[in-house]
């Protein structure tokens, strides 16, 4: 019988392996998605009446970022089977074998709890409750329930992405009023054309993974129509702050209307021809559009001070 003593080769601790681990765990948080969440959360905080210590405000925005990232990590844990199939996502840390599934789940859960608790301690428990609701909605309602069951998944699930400005607002005031709800509505109505533009040129990926995105279930033509309809509904909603007389026409109304027209034009191009080029352009412009809208709101507020 041969000697079967086990040689334990410890992994040599290197700066490279530690930095790679950090990069892998950070990528679990979906940093590109997080940037939009952080910005809209900051916008809600900035636009809210009242004052919040700058340090606590920064911590509140950090909590929104961490909470969003945590829900992204849990989403990656739950969807690791789909991610392994889809071209767009197979390089993610779990399907690529860089982070274990249980480790990703633990990381997401710890960050979720941490972000909610810190938010409550730094600001108030209304904001903390809204953050907890956002994380819970994204994980349980969108990821675990809707995503694999209905083509309306991102319509309803988009509510979680629309809550950050409400959280930011509540962090300052402790309550929710009309303007944060309008900001919620803007992002909620923006989400479908944004994601459906992506799904039009990635429909093969979603079909292979068995995800019932609208192009897979109802076809490309129906998706093109729905993108246009939602865009036509979205643009007037973005002008509601003007109707409520909470923003200026020059600083917000006219530029928002101009960008809205460009968005409608992009959606019309996709309606006429859902080529990959048109869909990519619409997807890219939709991100710019949302950033511009919230930037205009911030500029309007700053100009009015």
């Amino acid at each position: 019988m041969s000697d079967t003593s086990i040689e334990i080769k410890a992994a040599a601790p290197t700066a490279a392996s530690a930095s790679q681990a950090i990069r892998d765990y950070v990528s679990l948080l979906k940093p590109r998605v997080m940037s939009l969440v952080v910005f809209t959360g900051f916008a809600g905080l900035y636009l809210a009446p009242g004052e919040l210590n700058a340090g606590l405000a920064a911590i509140a925005v950090l909590c929104i970022a961490i909470g969003a990232g945590a829900s992204g990590a849990i989403n990656m844990w739950y969807d690791r089977d789909i991610d392994a199939v889809m071209t767009r996502t197979r390089g993610r840390p779990i399907p690529a074998g860089k982070v274990g599934a249980d480790e990703a789940l633990a990381f997401g859960v710890i960050l979720s709890g941490m972000s909610v608790m810190i938010m409550g301690l730094a600001t108030n428990w209304v904001a903390a409750a809204l953050l907890a609701a956002t994380i819970g909605f994204y994980v349980f309602i969108y990821t675990m329930w809707l995503k694999r069951r209905t083509p309306q998944n991102i319509v309803i699930g988009g509510a979680s992405g629309a809550l950050p400005p409400v959280i930011g607002w509540a962090a300052v005031t402790g309550d929710v009023t009309a303007l944060p709800l309008v900001m919620f509505l803007i992002i909620f109505m923006w989400t479908p054309p944004h994601f459906w533009a992506l799904s039009l040129y990635r429909s093969g990926d979603y079909e292979a993974a068995g995800v019932p995105m609208l192009p897979v279930v109802s076809g490309r033509r129906e998706t093109q129509k729905q993108i246009l309809i939602y865009t036509l509904l979205l643009v007037p909603i973005t002008l509601l702050p003007v109707a409520f007389e909470t923003v200026g026409m020059l600083t917000y109304g006219l530029p928002a209307a101009a960008f809205g027209l460009v968005f409608i034009l992009s959606a019309w191009k996709v309606f006429r021809d859902a080529s990959e080029k048109n869909c990519r352009r619409l997807f890219g412009f939709s991100i710019l559009y949302l950033f511009v809208l919230f930037t205009l709101l911030i500029i309007d507020q700053a100009a009015g001070v």
Partner: protein
């Protein structure tokens, strides 16, 4: 449900565990630091 790639060597296993431990350590450190910062800011008014 397909399996994610499991570590094929002990080195990979230890590297992955080390990564997990570093991530959790970072979370705890950030949590502690934020707790202190919040306390100081709130006491400062």
């Amino acid at each position: 449900m397909s399996e994610e790639q499991k570590p094929s060597t002990r080195e990979e296993l230890y590297t992955r565990k080390r990564g997990k431990n570093l991530a959790i350590l970072a979370c705890i450190a950030v949590f502690a630091i934020l707790f202190y910062v919040i306390t100081i800011l709130r006491m400062g008014g």
